[in-house]
């Protein structure tokens, strides 16, 4: 469900403007995998260590207007990217000097463009969505139970609270990200900022530092058994193995914390899925070209989607270090949301 459906300046609209036949683009652009071999660690595994960035202007799902078009042409991609650059320049321009207060009850906006770091490029394959299966580039239908959950009065009310349409009772109504507890979920999809990762690779274990909220996942390669299913974690429990050039990671054990977040192309907001304890995720990390680590993932939650789905989100090599991430510190957003809710109630005002 969209946390904020207003204010979206969509790539959908940008993409919809350019419709031609889809080329058979693959990783051959920009480099041919046949002509290139991934570097190796001292012990012989493909070397995926280092800093990576998953920013992209390609949306998770193919915009409906593109229908059957799975790939952009080079010209279409260039046009989309140019419009993103123009839009950023407009957003970064000095604001109009405001002499009158905004109308009461309206959307006051949030972050300006300074905060946003989505990148300016589509994925190197020029695919029109991160979702590669189903072939229409869109997520499968929800199961009837999931539909019922999304449409339930309780969930709809929660959605209204999170969108600011009705006063919030408590911080506990906000999602894990707003509460500074956990972002993105597994798989980790690109969002509006902090799309940086640092991978530390050893023969037995791989650690992935996620810049957003400064968290670490680790993936055991030593063949250990899965931990007791009664232990649930936000990142689940990840076991990995090398299959040729690809690190394959299977994750389960999310319990009732199972959750996924993808942000839309606008400055704010996105989609939050409540997933079930039956969630299983398979991730595949493959160095497909110099400077590109393909991050592919298959998400299977039979209680939420009618079929599993697969996506691919290429990570680009970064050359900057990761810094500490502050979430609560100096952040008065939650206080203000709740204080605003109390003020609205005291004023007897309905938003």
């Amino acid at each position: 469900m969209n946390r904020l459906s207003h204010g979206r300046v969509g790539i959908g609209a940008l993409l919809a403007a350019c419709v031609t036949l889809a080329p058979a683009a693959g990783w051959a652009q920009p480099a041919s995998p046949e002509a290139w071999e991934a570097p190796r660690t001292p012990w012989g595994d493909p070397d995926i260590g280092g800093v990576w960035n998953s920013s992209t202007v390609t949306p998770l799902e193919r915009p409906e207007a593109l229908a059957d078009q799975a790939f952009l042409t080079e010209e279409e991609a260039a046009a989309v990217e140019a419009r993103v650059v123009e839009a950023n320049a407009r957003a970064n321009a000095p604001s109009e000097v405001r002499t009158e207060p905004l109308p009461v009850g309206g959307n006051v906006g949030a972050y300006n463009a300074f905060w946003i770091d989505r990148g300016t490029t589509v994925v190197p394959t020029r695919r029109t969505s991160l979702v590669v299966d189903p072939p229409n580039g869109r997520l499968p239908a929800l199961t009837p139970e999931a539909e019922a959950h999304v449409n339930s009065p309780a969930r709809q009310r929660l959605k209204a609270v999170r969108e600011g349409a009705v006063p919030a009772d408590s911080y506990a109504q906000f999602d894990w990200g707003d509460r500074c507890i956990w972002y993105r979920g597994v798989p980790s999809l690109p969002t509006a900022y902090n799309n940086n990762y640092q991978i530390v690779q050893t023969p037995d274990v791989i650690a992935i530092v996620q810049e957003h909220i400064h968290d670490v996942r680790f993936i055991h390669l030593d063949g250990r058994p899965r931990i007791d299913g009664r232990v649930s974690q936000f990142g689940g429990h990840s076991l990995g193995r090398w299959e040729g050039e690809t690190l394959v990671v299977e994750t389960a054990g999310f319990g009732d914390r199972a959750y996924l977040f993808s942000s839309g192309p606008g400055p704010q907001g996105g989609t939050n899925w409540d997933l079930s304890p039956d969630l299983r995720v398979v991730e595949r990390f493959t160095r497909v070209a110099p400077g590109i680590l393909d991050y592919a993932f298959t998400v299977d939650d039979p209680n939420v989607w009618t079929t599993p789905w697969t996506g691919s989100s290429p990570w680009a090599r970064g050359d900057q270090p990761l810094y500490e991430y502050a979430c609560h510190e100096g952040n008065y957003g939650m206080t203000n949301i709740l204080a605003g809710s109390r003020a609205a109630e005291a004023g007897g005002r309905d938003r």
């Binding site: 530390v200 050893t202 232990v231 810094y323 609560h328 510190e329």
Partner: protein, 332 residues
Amino acid sequence: MRKSALAAFAVPTLVLAFAASPALAQSDGGMPMRTPDGHPDISGVFTFRTLTPMQRPAQFADRETLDPETAAAFEASERTRQNRDLFDPIAGAPNAGYQPRAAGGVLSYNEFWYERGIELTSDKRTSLIVDPPNGRYPPLTEAARQADAERRAYRREHMYDSYENRSMGDRCIAFTKSGPPMRPGAYNNNLMIFQTADHVAILTEQARQHRIIPLDDVEKPRIEQIAGVSRGRWEGETLVVETAQYRDWGNGTIGPSLRLVERFTRLDPDTVAYEYTVNDSERYTAPYTVMLPFRRTDGEIFEYACHEGNIGLYGILAGARNLERLGRELRP
């Protein structure tokens, strides 16, 4: 575990001598423990819980280590003294920091939460501080003494004003167990070390703080961080990590004037010797050095929840507001 090596752990000069010996850390087969790229292998999951206090207790003033009988008696008395389940909630436990109920004391965690260790270090040391030789922190500078007094005075007046006046730990932002340096505490005394040819990464269980330490002299960012900025290098068998550029934690102990040097040495398959020296001439009149064994453990490091389900900070502030409404005094 090689007892002789661990016994030597008590004496810094001997550890340094050991560090120069390439045969120091050996796997069970007698081969030196090496990573695939040929460096000493300090990786794994470890615990640093211990009953050995940071500073030497007054009753052991001139004793660096204890004989087995004295050590066993001290361990037994510490296990009793610190055991929350043995505290009388009315009488409190003033020798363990809990005031009687009449003086406002309220017991918090019960013993279930604690995992502070049940033994001294295996060499039965009386303090983790090994230098100065008296096992105590060096005297504070006059400026630090004054700053501490001012901080305490401010804290007495304002500690309940806002969550922003609470400690980094209360606010789930940073913990002294993660540091750096890592210091043992009441629980979550666990860490995981990863190694590559050019980086060492340290994940501490509490607050899931992590540090990724480049082993080459890459340019340092010109910012201060809660965990500072660390760079490491190998000196023989020992990983030496230097850290500076700390943000001020507001507690007097960690801030921009701290220069930390940590040394990690694999003594045997079960032990990494962790030694650190605090150089902070604005705070202390001399450097001090701590030695803390990391003992291998086969458990997993799990996610750490700090805010989630935790209404402690809310309770503290709500309680203070309620006392104010009742016109009652707030006690630190």
